[in-house]
Symmetry: C2
Subunit: 222 residues, 2 copies
DNA sequence: TAGATTGTTAATCGATTAACAATC
DNA sequence: TAGATTGTTAATCGATTAACAATC
């Protein structure tokens, strides 16, 4: 629309706080909602209000990566969506490997939310002979032994671990050796990996514990 | 073992940073692993090393809630586990309602990790007549219309939302009206609730986005 | 005793917010 | 023009770390 605008092409010179990046994802999500409802532009105040941040924080967060707004006008939604996707690296589609096809693994295999944000599970792994060799939701299920080979073949760089806790570290080590550089781990254990391999841990029970704490200590804040 | 020790019974006088509470959950998880491996005591250094924190931080975090350690010795695992459970409110078992039985909802219904940490799903809700009235994993499935009634009857205070995004806000409002005080939301939308209702949002795609960002910006840190 | 480790204070570091000139 | 809103600097706030006396 306006290619001529001097747009510093993503220069995170200094180090970007981790919290900023997760808010970036929230901005993106909200912007996508706004577009769905027909909004063409938005403002730091609007984004902040919906998400519970100050307007200053929204502007500061974005400022880490460049200048995306128009003084007096705000941000053009589509434009900012494109910019954030580029920053997050989701302006492409990432092939993802999924290891472990228990309840959670199967649910993740079918989860539509990944595809919408630029991730597609292209290979699943398990050790259960009853499912190895089949396809689930059109995704081929391989034996864990084929991990390295398949990851190499399909050029997969991201993986999801959904195996029982005792197996998680072993699988993580295998994945790292196979060339995976980012791991999303659903097993409730802290896995150790070389620092070159990034990993995010999601422990569903811990999320409930945070709630439990908030509820138990609720009265004191009132 | 030593009931006589003067143990300030959980006095979070000032306000406890949110980050401290989530680390508390990690300490608990790690302590449980240590006990499984036969450890009787541990230290702030050991806990910190495994989890990637400094020893000072471990001690500071725990200090928000009382004195749990023994100078020269460290922390008795079982004792600290009991203390943290009490702080988090998981020294009891919480009945939980689950709304939405799509792929993710069903997986959560079967997820074993909840029970181990003091949460049990006791009622599930959906609007699909094909499953309403049945039991899945011995959990009764009710129609969404029965939400208020069942939550009241079973005295449920925590709920999990696993419905499609467009339904999430409506369900959240319903839950709040039914007396739910804590909500774990898996729908990728920010829901608005009265501040008396605590909620935690888990967006699976966002977790992958964090990974994608880390991977794309990986080289710069090396 | 010597060695280990806590709880806590003070110092450092980092992140959020307020304010405002510049811009449309 | 007047009103709206940005990007950015400085001020504030909060969280992490280092250091150490006290304790076992």
């Amino acid at each position: 629309m306006d290619e001529d605008r001097p747009k510093p092409p993503m220069s995170p010179e200094g180090t970007v706080p981790k919290a900023v990046v997760s808010r970036l994802s929230l901005y993106l999500r909200e912007l996508q909602h706004l577009v769905q409802y027909g909004h063409e532009t938005t403002s730091s105040t609007q984004l902040g209000t919906v998400l519970g941040f100050t307007d200053a924080q929204v502007r500061k967060d974005l400022a880490y990566f460049g200048q995306f707004g128009y003084p007096g006008i705000g941000y053009r939604c589509e434009e900012l969506i494109a910019a954030i996707k580029q920053i997050l690296g989701t302006d492409r589609s990432w092939p993802v490997a999924l290891v472990g096809l228990g309840n959670l693994g199967r649910a993740l295999l079918r989860y539509r939310g990944f595809g919408q944000q630029g991730f597609r599970v292209v290979a699943a792994f398990d050790v259960d002979d009853a499912i190895v060799g089949q396809h689930i939701e059109q995704i081929p299920v391989y034996h864990l032994d084929q991990l390295t080979e398949v990851i190499d073949e399909l050029e997969i760089r991201l993986a999801i671990i959904a195996v029982p806790s005792p197996e998680a570290q072993g699988v993580a080590t295998l994945l790292a050796a196979a060339g995976i550089v980012g791991i999303l781990n659903f097993a409730p254990v802290t896995i150790a990996l070389p620092s070159s391999v990034k990993h995010v841990e999601v422990d569903l029970a811990i999320e409930l514990e945070q709630l439990s704490f908030a509820v138990v200590n609720r009265s004191e804040k009132t």
